[in-house]
Symmetry: C2
Subunit: 395 residues, 2 copies
């Protein structure tokens, strides 16, 4: 009844994932993913939920009680983080310096928020002073900002923003989709009120869940809402009853994805957060040394480059898609192109979680040299790999 020629079994051998996510996944995570399904209210599963919450809170470096994975991808996390805390007419300030800030602004409008934006430059951070200036001009109930902009590779310092939002009485909502598990996301220490992420970046778990954490201050805001949250599926007041002691049925959790997330978090804490952050910096520095030695120019603002997502300018005359296709075809290696206004202008080379290794750094430098040569762009032979090797020696 089903033609195997038309509908063949999945035969992928996978890729070396060095794009903006998903990243490669440890075999242990795939093994956990394929454990037998059990019921969403089974004691055995409830225990796994509890342990997952615990490890997630450690990963967010928070004591927040409400720290769970939302049953959707990172973008569902973004929507959850906004829709629960914005009521029609609430004043919201969104910092935009890339695609994901723009997306936040879009969602704010769909919630009926009274939106103001700081329009920053793609590839640069938002200066904290700009935020303070904006809040002095017009107070806001909520400020939204992206920690690691996946579209540009910029890593935004959050601590000064947390101080400002606290001073002006605004809730701080932070997008940590790309940073969590790869760079410090110090939720409590840096004064973040609501933070969301995705599983497929530095957590190195397949895409499908969106970790989120909400502090007491934000929970109070939620409790004082006049209207119901506009999304039933993402309503934290109900999700809390399912993930909390009541175990009140809300929706059927994505059982196997929770298994996978749990295993990926175990792997993260076996390595240790600080060691993991250091690993991301180590390999990113080597990669950047190599790219620079090849005559390429980094895109993101110096001093604020996200170690897990290295953006580099495409040299004049080189065909973006041609190079990416070369790498994919000859090496099974995926890197990312640019999005929106910088489409065709940059590549985004991910070093996320399980993908962040010395072998990947060396391979991408060696294969990129080859792909560029194929495009007629001259790179001094071996310059990239040699510079990276040197960077590892010094480190």
């Amino acid at each position: 009844m089903v033609d195997n020629k038309i509908y063949p079994e999945i035969r992928t051998k996978g890729r070396i994932l060095m794009g903006p996510g998903p990243s490669n996944v440890h075999p242990r995570v795939l093994r956990a993913l394929s454990a037998p399904v059990i019921g969403h209210l089974d004691k055995e599963f409830l225990d796994i939920m509890n342990l997952t919450k615990d490890l997630l809170a450690k990963t967010f470096m928070t004591s927040n009680d409400f720290t769970i994975p939302i049953s959707g991808t990172g973008s569902a996390g973004m929507e959850t983080a906004l829709v629960n805390f914005i009521e029609p007419g609430d004043k919201v300030l969104i910092c935009i310096n890339g695609l994901f800030g723009e997306r936040m602004a879009d969602i704010v409008q769909r919630c009926g928020g009274d939106l103001e934006v700081i329009q920053g430059e793609w590839g640069k951070i938002i200066e904290p002073d700009e935020i303070e200036k904006a809040l002095r001009m017009r107070p806001a109930d909520i400020v939204g900002i992206v920690h690691a902009e996946t579209s540009t590779g910029v890593l935004q310092p959050i601590k000064p923003v947390g101080e400002i939002t606290k001073k002006y009485g605004a809730l701080l909502v932070v997008d940590a989709v790309t940073s969590l598990g790869g760079a410090p996301v110090r939720v409590d220490e840096d004064g973040m009120d609501v933070v969301y992420s995705g599983t497929q970046k530095c957590l190195s778990c397949p895409p499908g869940l969106a970790p989120i954490t909400v502090n007491k201050r934000a929970e109070e805001r939620l409790a004082s809402r006049k209207n119901k949250v506009q999304s039933w599926y993402l309503d934290i007041t109900m999700l809390r009853s399912y993930w909390g002691k009541e175990r009140f049925y809300h929706h059927t959790a994505p059982i196997n994805m929770v298994y996978a997330l749990y295993e990926s978090l175990r792997i993260i804490h076996e390595e240790g957060l600080e060691a993991r952050f250091a690993r991301h910096i180590l390999h990113s520095n080597a990669l950047k040394a190599g790219l620079t030695a090849m005559g390429l120019e980094l895109f993101a603002q110096s001093g604020y480059q996200a170690p897990m997502l290295n953006s580099v300018k495409i040299p004049e005359g080189v065909d973006d898609a041609g190079v990416r296709k070369y790498l994919l075809t000859n090496y099974g290696l995926e890197i990312g192109g640019g999005l929106g206004p910088i489409k065709g202008r940059i590549w985004r080379i991910g070093l996320m979680g399980h993908s962040c290794t010395r072998e990947n750094v060396m391979l991408v430098l060696a294969s990129l040299e080859e792909a560029l040569a194929d495009q007629g762009f001259h790179v001094e032979r071996g310059a990239g790999v040699a510079a990276a090797r040197e960077a590892y020696k010094v480190a």
Copy 2:
């Protein structure tokens, strides 16, 4: 850094899942689930997306172009089916005869819909005449109804409802979470405009995705909206560009869950839809014969019992949780309890997809006899199993 005693690896050996979902999953589906991750815009993945769409449309028995899995569980499917087609002030009629009708009504209010409900009885169908009466009194833009009510085990005839909604110019939104893949969901033939489902019932795939299909009539309604859809994540106008030819990036699809859904759909169409529906009826009839012979009374209205979810009244004096715990502890067998107003009054015995087998029917009858005896409720020895055996002979 992580204590294996506190955070042990997942060691579940699984359960025999005969509750209201999730159902058991074919080993091939778990194998597909754990295939290596690839990028969400990788040609190899786009091909899998296309094939999944095709097989999903066959399963919905539709020629609708927009037939995709939403990246969330069944409830996200419900929200998608409502939030895209309701604008503030739209007149919506929801038929309620169980928990999931109530949930629809809740979501309608969160969309600003002008809600009217038909309050039916839990365990009975909604009479089509009631719907016609309601629409004659007050026309509606949208009518929502549940095909197989997971909370009661009632199977609602949809065809007459489709005729009425067409006559009165309303869009018909149907919840086929529990029915799809286990009973005919004839989207085109029965005049359904928007239909959603979940993966963890009769599709026998782990929970996490919500198949949905939207016909031209509903797409036109969507195109004529005055306001943006209030959910960014579930906005069909954008999902369409990602799943369609444009491949416009929206969110990162849950890659591995799509693998699993694809494999579960291949299995369904290897068996064939009609054979699969017949199998569900066969085993359900045997189960019902057995339960009745044991002196138990079926809960759902006679003639309208969903084959994949058999609800049975709990005899006077028998402890609901005690029996379920007995089955789980001694047989690793999960059946469901009641929800809402019928909590403690019924059990829900699922025969969904891969869980719908003769061995499961016999096991649940034999073990239930034992669990009831343990509670002091007398069942004639072997009566249930014998009656089921007889039913299989006759069939």
